[in-house]
């Protein structure tokens, strides 16, 4: 009986890997096309790219991860405030950088299952280089839908780096002061945009 299940399980896994590959390729290629479109203004590029990726990120998961060990000691109010501020912080901090995010090619070379996640190994080829930049996308299926949880550029995980930064800042300042600073930063960023 065991042998009957093995091929089916293998086929399901391969099929899911194909789904992840297609999912990540679609996201990457859409962004490259928009970012490379010379007819679009920077503001329009930003708007369109946000529309493309809105919904593919599991924001709650990322916010929880970035909060790290402080999640357990934070109050419900602090958790909710952090999640809301974090989203605004990310949008307003990195939004203006969109205009530079163009390139020639985006390719997903492999998808591997790792610790309950799918890791899509991709390459991004900038216009000004012949050397592709390696990229890992970490994805997971949630409620029957694939979501992106992390982006790892040349071995550097974006959310891991941010978790380390936030944890360090919180341990030095305390959660309330950190949230005050985050609130102030977000307000300043909104005023600048």
């Amino acid at each position: 009986m065991l042998f009957l299940f093995v091929p089916q399980s293998f086929a399901q896994s391969a099929s899911k890997a194909d789904d992840v590959k297609k999912f990540v390729e679609e996201i990457g290629n859409k962004i490259v096309i928009i970012a490379s479109d010379k007819k679009l203004t920077d503001a329009k590029k930003r708007e369109k790219i946000i529309m493309v990726i809105d919904g593919v990120i599991d924001a709650d998961w990322i916010a929880r991860f970035v909060l790290g060990k402080n999640y357990k000691t934070a109050t419900d109010r602090q958790r909710e405030l952090f999640t809301k501020l974090y989203r605004d912080f990310m949008i307003n901090t990195y939004g203006p950088k969109f205009k530079n995010y163009n390139g020639r090619k985006f390719t997903v070379n492999d998808v591997a299952e790792q610790g309950g996640f799918y890791v899509a190994k991709a390459e991004f080829l900038p216009y000004d280089s012949k050397i592709p930049i390696s990229t890992d996308f970490r994805a997971k299926e949630r409620n029957g839908k694939l979501v992106i949880l992390d982006f790892i550029a040349e071995g550097i995980s974006l959310i891991e780096t941010q978790r380390s930064e936030f944890n360090s800042a919180i341990s030095q300042k305390g959660m309330d002061k950190f949230l005050d600073d985050l609130t102030g930063r977000v307000a300043n960023l909104k005023n600048m945009s």
């Binding site: 990310m90 990195y94 163009n102 992106i148 550097i156």
Partner: protein, 245 residues
Amino acid sequence: MLLRSFFILLLFSFSAQDYAFAQDDEFETYETSGEQEIYDPYEGLNRKVYAFNDTFDRYFFEHVARTYRTGVPEDARDAIHNFLNNLSLPVSALNSMAQGRVHNTLATLSNFLINSTIGLVGIFDVAGQKGIFYRPQDFGQTLGYYGAGNGAYLMIPFLGPSTARDFGGFLVDKAVSPVGLNLVEVGGKIKIVPTEYLIGTAALSGVDTRESLLDVIDDIRRDSFDPYATIRSAYLQKRANSIKN
């Protein structure tokens, strides 16, 4: 820079639904190379060195790098970068060989031979244009390849982030390289390379590296709540990845 920005942009299209968090066990299965492996027993001292480096950079080195970027044409900067990079290839090939990476060793040596000759002492990256790519290797990576851990995280005056393993490896690489510390000359017996040349290439290499990091460091200074922690995490992850791959 392009890639980093590309990732970052993907992160901020959050749909503000409810604020329910996922279950804890999902986070415990997330394997990363960062937070749990940070060993920074000299953090107090390291932060002081970081503050010193940061001040030195803001008041001097950053300006040199910006002047270099604006005052030297991009093609000339590329040529200088290629030349400096070519000088590092023999040591890189030795480390690659020490790790038993045959293909990478041959690719590194091919780059050195082709660029040193056809590429006019490394000014032109002819090998790269022909698609002969390699992964640079240093002695810190070699030690890591054979199982040596990071050791303590260190912030080195003027040089920046490192670890006990990597800084030791850095010194070994420089001692071995004919354009590094040149221990033979220090010994006072044989003078392979003039001292002025050594100082010149070291200074130029520093400016070249700092220029390449202008945008990255600008971003960190502007966006990070704790630049020291951001740089530490990124450095440790980057090194772990370079050893793994």
